[in-house]
């Protein structure tokens, strides 16, 4: 087990090595996207929405977007990223000639997307805190929430990778799954307005639970209650999705 972890860590470190080579290019969209949405919607649209659940729109948007970076970075990493490494670059094929096996590759992917999601959501949160768009008291929980959301969304990406026949098909997954996940996660508006059946569907979204936890943390508003309600759901969804992603992708690496 110790050796498996150590070998998986080498896979994670490979991805980190590649990532940091183009660090500025890689990190800028992940950080700038949420920050510009916060600026554009928060200041622009926020001029019309002065009170949403008792807060300015800017403050309302902030936590959800911090958590959403975990979704984006994880999904892209295990969909397009995985597919390119697997099919075009043969990175895993070469790794498989070393003591690294399929288990370590998948575990290394999960570690990488989890840590990346944690780091990204933390990065955005630090910017938010600098601009006083959140309460620092529970901010330390954001990377943990980001880690779990990224694992779950990374698993969705791996499941997608196991189904697509060519790289263009990820666009369909993006259009019909990831986009609604993002827009109906409670980031942009409270979900109590939407029809009941959509609310029920949203309960199956790891991002929704992550966003609700992030909001409770950064607003410092009912964090304990949110933890009791959304924490178990986020854990459960992550614990369900990760093994499914594992089982789906394993035969692609070893058959």
């Amino acid at each position: 087990m110790r050796e498996t972890l150590s070998l998986a860590w080498r896979v994670t470190m490979r991805h980190w090595d590649v990532y940091r080579q183009n660090f500025v290019a890689n990190i800028s969209p992940t950080l700038s996207d949420p920050l510009f949405i916060i600026l554009a919607l928060g200041i622009g649209l926020g001029a019309y929405i002065t009170d949403i659940d008792g807060r300015t729109y800017l403050v309302f948007l902030a936590p959800g977007l911090a958590i959403s970076t975990a979704l984006w970075s994880a999904f892209f990493e295990t969909s397009y990223g995985f597919f390119i490494r697997h099919t075009y670059e043969h990175v895993y094929q070469a790794m498989m000639t070393t003591p690294i096996g399929p288990r370590e590759i998948i575990l290394g992917e999960y570690l990488w997307v989890g840590l990346k999601g944690a780091g990204m959501s933390l990065g955005v949160t630090i910017v938010l805190l600098v601009f006083r768009l959140g309460d620092p008291l529970f901010a330390w929980t954001i990377p943990l929430i980001g880690f779990l959301v990224a694992l779950a969304c990374g698993a969705i990406g791996l499941i997608a990778s196991s189904f697509v026949r060519n790289i263009n098909q990820f666009q369909t997954v993006y259009a019909i799954l990831i986009n609604p996940l993002f827009f109906f996660s409670g980031i942009f508006f409270p979900l109590d307005q939407v029809p009941r059946f959509i609310q029920v569907i949203c309960f199956a979204s790891p991002l929704y639970h992550g966003v609700r936890l992030g909001q409770a943390a950064l607003w410092n508003d009912g964090f304990g209650a949110a933890l009791l309600l959304h924490g178990p759901f986020l854990l459960l969804l992550t614990a369900l999705l990760c093994p499914i992603g594992w089982m789906r992708i394993f035969p692609k690496l070893y058959r």
Partner: protein, 322 residues
């Protein structure tokens, strides 16, 4: 792990084979890629696995290093089963993969440093080992180059470096010189011979019969997932198509004369391929006297090669998968 290491060490010492495959099988759905291959590779030997495209060579090799499961039969590498102990096997294995599969996202040295970490070289030794091998493969001056800026030959040499990072007990070469120019191939062959001289066991697949003839102590020819022939290169030439071949241009009148002449003498046979019309006889003197007797001058007169054996066994026609 200690026990496994000791176990495999004692295996080596007792001279049992490094690789032993018995009735190895692999099915992909309804396709039988390997249909019962049996072979063994002795320690220190250079063993060739030849066959046309789609013969099942690469699949057999991938099973060997645990990148693919087997559907049947038994297989041990260093006395271990790749289905259960691939990790331990791969600690002692170097693989020159058919595709370079170099990490395009990293430079030359960074690539090798990453793989040095993957194969588990201690941190303190990585830099030294990588630089030493880059030097040996004449790549040290391109340490910081990007992969795509290297020539095909350089990329291939870098794959060699990757395979040698851990001083493998068994080096697997999957079509190591395909697409390379003659100078680079010669350079590769020298390196392979050096490795062999230091006691490295080598498993080679190739489409180049001259390569197999030069490097292999023993080889098998696979076709359609089965092993069709086995032996040392010279021995196989003697067994399957000994003698000398005279090659003639493809002309209808000439073909008739040749076929008739060959039919008169049981020591002679003929076949036609892309090179022309070929007449094979038992030796240079016999073929010369045969040709003199019939007043025919060939375009080429050459000894039989492993290529003749290969074509004899696998057929001269292009198969469905070729």
């Amino acid at each position: 792990m200690k026990a496994t290491e000791m176990n495999s060490l004692s295996n080596d010492a007792s001279g049992s084979p490094v690789v032993e495959a018995k009735d190895l099988r692999k099915n992909f759905g309804s396709v039988q890629a390997v249909r019962g291959a049996s072979f063994s590779i002795a320690r220190g030997e250079c063993f060739g696995l030849l066959g046309p495209n789609g013969a099942g060579k690469s699949t057999a090799i991938r099973i060997l290093y645990g990148a693919t499961s087997r559907s049947g039969g038994s297989l041990t590498v260093f006395g271990l089963d790749p289905a259960r102990e691939a990790r331990e096997i791969k600690k002692r294995l170097g693989v020159v993969t058919q595709e370079n599969a170099l990490d395009e996202d990293m430079g030359v040295r960074a690539n090798m440093m990453m793989y040095a970490r993957c194969v588990g070289l201690p941190r303190a030794d990585r830099g030294k080992r990588v630089d030493e091998l880059l030097g040996a493969m004449s790549l040290d001056h391109r340490s910081n180059a990007r992969i795509r800026d290297l020539s095909g030959g350089m990329q291939r040499r870098l794959v060699f470096v990757r395979a040698l990072l851990r001083q493998p007990g068994l080096l697997v070469l999957d079509e190591p010189t395909t697409g390379l120019d003659p100078a680079v191939r010669l350079h590769m062959w020298e390196r392979v011979r050096e490795l062999k001289d230091t006691g490295t066991t080598i498993l080679l697949t190739t489409h180049y019969m001259d390569e197999a003839e030069r490097l292999c102590d023993r080889l098998v020819i696979m076709n359609e997932g089965e092993i069709k022939a086995e032996g040392a290169p010279r021995e196989m030439i003697e067994r399957y198509c000994p003698g000398t071949v005279a090659v003639f241009p493809k002309e209808a009148g000439l073909r008739e004369r040749l076929v008739t002449a060959a039919a008169e003498n049981p020591d002679f046979s003929w076949f036609e391929d892309r090179a022309g019309i070929n007449v094979r006889g038992p030796g240079l003197a016999a073929v010369e006297s045969f040709l003199g007797h019939h007043g025919m001058i060939p375009r080429i007169l050459r000894p039989s090669t492993l290529e003749d054996v290969f074509l004899e066994i696998t057929g001269r026609e292009l198969g469905g998968d070729a």
